[in-house]
């Protein structure tokens, strides 16, 4: 991974919290009525492949595993609303031969208010010789 990519931001992308999307999650996971918290994964995936494949980041994505994930809600996500998803490379660290990439996404409502933050830590594993 290229350390210099730290801090880079990506173009904001819209994500519709559509009934179809919410129903697909409910069909898979059940749970009470309402927007399931991990619907944000689908929002992240509007941008995530762009970040992972960014030549400037130079991530060896064949050796990448998902280390951890965090969602922080500033207000509930509403069914039918459109969120704007903006990704940022929050940090790049190297430790013990592995690379740790934190991608942070801000999800804003139509009026620009912050709705949620999603943080994904990806681990680029050291390739054994």
């Amino acid at each position: 991974m290229n350390q210099a990519a730290e801090g880079k931001t990506y173009e904001p992308v819209p994500f519709d919290v559509s009934e179809d999307r919410v129903n697909a999650f409910h069909d898979l996971f059940g749970g009470p009525p309402g927007v399931p918290p991990t619907i944000l994964t689908a929002a992240e995936f509007t941008v995530f492949p762009v970040v992972m494949g960014d030549p400037e980041l130079a991530l060896d994505f064949r050796n990448v595993v998902h280390g951890s994930q965090e969602y922080e809600f500033h207000r509930p996500v509403h069914l039918g609303e459109t969120l704007t998803v903006q990704a940022r490379i929050a940090s790049i660290r190297h430790k013990g031969g592995n690379g740790f990439l934190v991608v942070e996404m801000r999800l804003n409502g139509v009026d620009g208010e912050m709705v949620a933050i999603a943080r994904s830590t990806m681990i680029e594993r050291a390739v054994s010789a």
Binding site: R21, A24, F25, D27, L28, F29, G30, G31, P32, G34, V35, P36, P37, T38, T41, A42, F45, T46, F48, R62, V65, H66, G67, S68, Q69, E70, Y71, E72, F73, P76
Partner: protein, 141 residues
């Protein structure tokens, strides 16, 4: 059904939620989430990176954990934070069990923090697909 702060104690268990993970589920999850990584769809790709076959998306397992937490609080809108660390793969046909326990309660803010995990029994051992997960929920007054 919603939980109430006055009924909770530190150490209380969340009702555990179990499910068996199938190929069809993981396929459907790829479409629902947009994560089309072939590691979760193509056995040959999974074998190339050292697994015996495809594994579930970490976020599939976290989706299940999220449903466990939402069922416990009664309304997903009350969840203000949800986190997970992915520690072990989940293979097709395996049963995953999501659970947790109350770590702290705040009488003033009505914030409840629970520690979370997802286990899978493999070769007579309990593996943690997710550990050190955490949820913070805000209960209505």
């Amino acid at each position: 059904m919603s939980i109430r702060l006055q009924d909770l104690r530190v150490g209380d268990a969340l009702p555990a939620l179990a499910r068996t993970v199938t190929r069809e589920d993981v396929r459907a999850y790829a479409d629902a989430s947009g994560d089309q990584n072939p590691l979760h769809q193509d056995d040959d790709v999974a074998r190339m990176v050292g697994f015996s076959g495809i594994i579930a998306h970490g976020m599939f397992t976290m989706g299940h954990l999220g449903a466990c937490v939402a069922a416990w609080v009664g309304d997903p809108a009350n969840i203000v934070r949800l986190s997970a660390q992915f520690r072990a793969p989940v293979f097709m046909g395996e049963e995953i069990v999501a659970g947790g326990r109350v770590r702290s309660l705040d009488e003033e803010t009505h914030a409840v923090v629970a520690e979370l995990w997802v286990t899978v029994e493999r070769d007579g051992k309990t593996e943690f697909a997710i550990r050190k997960g955490e949820a913070e929920v805000r209960l209505p007054n």
